[in-house]
């Protein structure tokens, strides 16, 4: 894949690029936010399947949220996988929530303090309407814990606007024609939502902010691994509009994603200008064009009960215009249409193709009265669905006259984005009346602030100064979360810090990479193995083979050293072996005197197989030769 480096020729400041980051991080608490269930996911077969439908309702201020309505129009049924032990009635929306999880609240305050935020005096749990089925209640429980924080980056200060404590949503398992299936195991896991203000102004800065936030989070009790942290990106340029990109997984891809979104917004603005110049129009009529395709070569069209067409006056060439690598304006239309259940659309900018002949295209244009500057969109499906899908295309096509529209979009793996739903409005929120408000006293906050975990950067610096480690080793220890193990070992044993650090930072990882499972290796075993080194019973090169043996045979490090014959020899044993060799090489020793040291050293070391320290061997050999002579 070739990535164009827009950084070279895009002037971010001139474009007015603004970005905000929203991070969702699962906490590693004993139980969920509002029920006693554990926060672990399960792959077990569900004990129960519960079928539900959701209806949008009046929110607190009487406004109905437009995103909620969009979802409701799809009339999806939701199936929830529930368990007799792993989940309970709370997740199934069959019981009111239990009181707030205090461990989660404390972690939220820890992170808020690390991000220099002001913690609320009173926490109010809200219901945030989400009726895509990912929450059984039709809302996500969430509350604002802190505001007014900041982070220092190499490109300036970034304001951390909000930190919220909320429930994670149910896990989407599959989408079938019957509806969407969710699993309740993830629903209710405590989640921190951290949002920056939209002041991030360079694609590389957004990556740095994400990295730093990740580092702060990792200094507390958060979940690790795929899916435990999710990043959403808000992007806009001056003449564009705010677009929220959901589910950005890869930090390294962030700058590319920003570049491609900026490109998309620029192209949409160009399209708008062209449309205005052409005095383009979206026609209101939706045509029944089935007759155009009476004996068509297109299987999709031939098998569809209805074929509908929409004329877009003045859109020719624009629908097929690429707005992101491999994605056209037509792809945007198609994403809207797909929400109504069709698998895609056809447009005249890409026809003839897909079994549709040029004669059919001509007839289609004649039928709808489309000229050379016009485009026609067609959808083949059941009557009602095709009609609905084209209504959606019509709605999206009208938005082209506004240039960029506010949307929630999904991050695609290669750095592009795809339309998901309209941006939610703030009327999605009303008070969760089943949970009392929670007072956070200043002494509580102060106590937490006095005991904050070390943030990664401080930790790294301390490793360097306190243990005299190289910057590289210190960085690796912090990055691989091995500082606690390292300090534990250093507190127990007198060993060279660099030896221990490189074992933890590199050797263990190399063993894993070579396919040795180190899962059974706990810190006690590691200490026992290193104790052998401390007592000069083994050489430092013996540690890796011993650890492999320990993990494979489940033996103690001592047993492993014995079994592998890696225990260092005592001085007397070394003397015996040297005596034996001298007597074997008697002639040479007599001939060359002390000059035989060199050759003999080689022979002895080979015989000892590294089970004795070179210095010791040297000393004993020297003494033995002198004695012999």
């Amino acid at each position: 894949m070739i990535l164009i480096d827009y950084g070279d020729f895009m002037d971010w400041e001139k474009l007015g690029l603004k970005m905000g980051l929203e991070i969702h991080q699962q906490l590693d608490t004993k139980s969920k936010l509002f029920c006693p269930c554990s926060c672990n996911l399960t792959d077990k077969k569900a004990d129960y399947e519960i079928l539900r439908n959701l209806r949008p309702t009046q929110s607190e201020l009487g406004k109905i949220d437009r995103a909620a309505f969009q979802e409701a129009r799809r009339k999806l049924r939701f199936l929830y996988e529930a368990y007799s032990q792993e989940t309970c009635l709370v997740e199934a929306d069959e019981e009111p929530p239990c009181p707030l999880n205090l461990e989660a609240m404390e972690l939220a305050i820890v992170v808020a303090s690390l991000l220099n935020m002001k913690v609320m005096d009173e926490f109010h749990t809200m219901r945030k309407q989400v009726i895509d089925g990912s929450n059984t209640g039709g809302f996500q429980r969430t509350g604002l814990v802190a505001t007014h924080g900041f982070l220092e980056t190499s490109q300036g200060k970034v304001v951390i606007e909000n930190l919220c404590l909320e429930e994670d949503a149910a896990r989407r398992i599959e989408t079938t024609s019957d509806g969407v299936k969710f699993r309740l195991d993830r629903l209710g896991i405590p989640l921190l939502e951290i949002t920056t203000d939209p002041s991030i102004h360079h694609p590389e800065q957004v990556k740095e902010v994400a990295y730093q936030l990740g580092q702060v989070l990792r200094s507390t009790k958060v979940k690790r691994g795929l899916g435990t942290i999710r990043q959403d990106l808000n992007i806009s340029i001056r003449d564009g509009a705010r677009v929220e990109v959901k589910g950005v997984q890869n930090l390294d891809l962030m700058p590319t994603m920003v570049q491609r979104e900026v490109e998309r917004q620029i192209k949409l603005i160009e399209i708008r200008d062209t449309l205005l110049k052409r005095e383009a129009q979206v026609e209101d009529e939706i045509f029944d064009v089935k007759s155009v395709f009476e004996d068509t070569g297109s299987k999709i069209i031939a098998s569809a009960p209805a074929v509908k067409g929409l004329k877009l006056t003045g859109f020719a060439g624009l629908v097929g215009m690429e707005i992101q690598p491999g994605r056209r304006l037509g792809t945007e239309f198609s994403s809207y249409a797909k929400k109504l259940g069709v698998s895609g659309i056809f447009h005249t900018d890409e026809l003839p193709a897909y079994g549709i002949s040029s004669r059919e295209v001509d007839r289609l244009k004649d039928f709808t009265g489309a000229g050379a500057e016009d485009a026609v969109i067609i959808v083949a499906h059941q009557e009602e669905i095709a009609q609905g899908a084209l209504e959606e295309v019509k709605r999206r096509a009208l938005m082209c006259f506004d240039g960029v529209v506010e949307e929630t979009r999904k991050a695609l793996p290669e750095g592009n984005t795809e339309y998901m739903r309209p941006l939610p409005t703030s009327s999605r929120m009303y008070l969760e009346t089943d949970i009392p408000t929670f007072t956070i006293t200043r002494p509580q906050v102060q106590k937490i602030k006095n005991n904050l975990p070390e943030i990664p950067r401080a930790k790294k610096e301390r490793m360097e100064s306190e243990y005299n480690l190289s910057e590289d080793l210190a960085t690796q220890l912090v990055k691989r979360d091995k500082v606690d193990d390292f300090e534990n070992i250093m507190n127990n044993l007198k060993l060279d810090p660099t030896v221990v650090a490189s074992l933890l930072a590199y050797s263990l990882r190399e063993l894993k990479r070579d396919g040795h499972s180190m899962d059974s290796l706990d810190s006690k075993t590691l200490i026992n193995a290193l104790k052998l080194l401390e007592q000069d019973k083994i050489s430092k090169d013996a540690i890796s083979p011993i650890l492999i043996h320990v993990s494979q045979k489940n033996s103690s490090p001592q047993e492993a050293a014995e079994a592998l014959d890696l225990l260092m020899l005592k001085e007397s044993d070394v003397e015996d072996i040297i005596q034996k060799i001298i007597s074997q090489k008697e002639d040479m020793v007599k001939q060359r005197g002390m000059g035989s040291m060199g050759p003999l050293m080689g022979i002895v070391m080979k015989e000892l197989k590294g089970k004795a320290d070179g210095k010791l061997v040297n000393k004993v050999l020297k003494e033995s030769i002198q004695k012999f002579l």
Partner: protein, 437 residues
């Protein structure tokens, strides 16, 4: 406004009211938001703001400086009034609302779910109901079901009677779930009906997208159009949003504090299953009255002074004596097992007989029949004049005793009424099917 004490003083002295946009300046931070009311039971140290983001927060008032940014209107629900056209092709169904979760909305007063909807509000939030019938709504009271009293049962029965008299094809009663089964039993005894009377409610408040209110109402309206001229409870059959059961009003009980399918038929099977508005009469259903076979009658005399007492290992006669001394006219005793209570209660129960106060025995097992012939305690209770409640639910027996005493003060007559099946409350035969349905 529910603010009190210090918070109230601060708001008033700053000239700020609910709905105003304000800033609160503190030592190290300034918040901006709209002032919301605070729940009545919360402390007086915080002011609630709704932030731009939609979040509510509570700001401690100590060393806080309040500034008005913009005067606002108090936020309130603004539902447009309905204009309903009658469709002669559709049946006329009356919905009578009494309050409770099926008709509720968030209340700024307590910050809690509160009954607030009128019957018309039901139609605004559930417009589909109007496709099914000409709906006539009537709110007769607006109380939580835990506050229901026998006098409200009478009020409800009279309202229903009027609706049917005025031509309603069926009646739906929206009711809180806590005491729904008491009301359903009461209506069963007080009304003889030629049309369906369907009582329904919700376990999840109707303000939330996952509420069961809609499906319960939809199926209730459908049931009200059916052939089953009975007093019934229509509530979720399972945890799924698929269908409801129609339970006989005298043999149904709330069996779970929170589940949607909390109402279960006890010692009988549900009469019917409702799915997407379609009725399926269940094979286990006992004989029911068809539409139009019974003439409308109202027997609304109730004796309110009836006590419902549960036996327990440490109980003594004082509790019974107290009620007799206070002038209670009847007692339902929810005994253990087959219908027992400790020996030490017997003298007080004999005293009740002397006072001509009927004592009816039901079982806290709920499932199965009372039979006081099996053990000696039971036989002594029978000798003391205790009346067997058969397989009646305790709650139903309590309601029925009120009703029986409304008709006669004579112990023998009351006993006869209690032992006679009036509204399907007693089943002679115990089927193997009737357990933990």
């Amino acid at each position: 406004m529910n603010y009190r004490g210090s918070a109230k003083k601060l708001l008033e002295s700053s000239g700020i009211s609910i709905g105003d946009l304000i800033t609160i300046e503190k030592d190290d931070v300034t918040y901006q938001g709209m002032v919301l009311d605070r729940s009545e039971d919360a402390d007086d140290q915080h002011i609630v703001l709704k932030m731009d983001s939609g979040y509510n927060i509570g700001v401690n008032i100590s060393s806080s400086n309040l500034k008005l940014v913009e005067k606002g209107k108090k936020p309130k629900l603004d539902l447009k009034p309905l204009t309903i056209k009658e469709d002669p092709a559709k049946k006329d169904i009356s919905i009578i609302s009494t309050g409770g979760t099926v008709a509720s909305i968030i209340d700024y007063k307590t910050g809690a779910v509160h009954p607030a909807f009128t019957a018309e509000d039901l139609l605004i939030t559930n417009p589909e109901l109007r496709d099914m019938a000409n709906i006539k709504g009537k709110a007769i009271c607006n109380i939580l079901s835990e506050n229901m009293k026998p006098e409200y049962w009478v009020k409800s029965a009279r309202s229903i009677y009027d609706e049917i008299n005025e031509g309603a094809y069926g009646v739906v009663v929206a009711h809180g779930t806590d005491t729904m089964h008491y009301t359903s039993a009461a209506l069963s005894f007080m009304l003889e009906t030629p049309v369906p009377i369907v009582i329904t409610g919700a376990q999840r408040s109707s303000d939330r997208p996952s509420s069961d209110a809609f499906l319960n109402l939809l199926n209730s309206v459908s049931a009200a159009k059916s052939d089953l001229a009975e007093v019934m409870v229509c509530m979720y059959a399972g945890s799924d949003d698929t269908g409801c059961y129609l339970h006989r009003g005298t043999k149904v009980r709330k069996m779970h504090t929170s589940r949607r399918d909390t109402f279960r038929s006890i010692n009988t099977a549900p009469l019917a299953c409702m799915k997407e508005g379609e009725i399926e009469i269940l094979p286990g259903a006992k004989g029911y009255n068809s539409r139009g076979t019974v003439e409308l009658k109202l027997n609304d005399y109730l004796e309110p002074d009836v006590a419902f007492i549960k036996s327990f290992p440490g109980i003594n006669g004082e509790i019974i004596d107290y009620h007799l001394d206070k002038g209670y006219k009847g007692i339902v005793l929810e005994g253990t097992g087959l219908g027992h209570c400790p020996d030490q209660l017997i003298p007080s129960l004999e005293r009740a007989a002397d006072y001509q106060v009927p004592v009816v025995m039901t079982s806290q097992c709920m499932y199965g029949k009372v039979n006081m012939n099996v053990y000696s305690t039971g036989r002594r209770l029978l000798k003391a004049g205790v009346i067997s409640g058969g397989d009646m639910l305790g709650e139903t027996a309590y309601v029925k005793l009120s009703w029986a005493l409304g008709h006669s003060e004579k112990l023998e007559e009351v006993k006869k009424i209690m032992e006679t099946n009036i509204a399907g409350e007693i089943e002679e035969k115990s089927s193997l099917d009737y357990f933990l349905l």
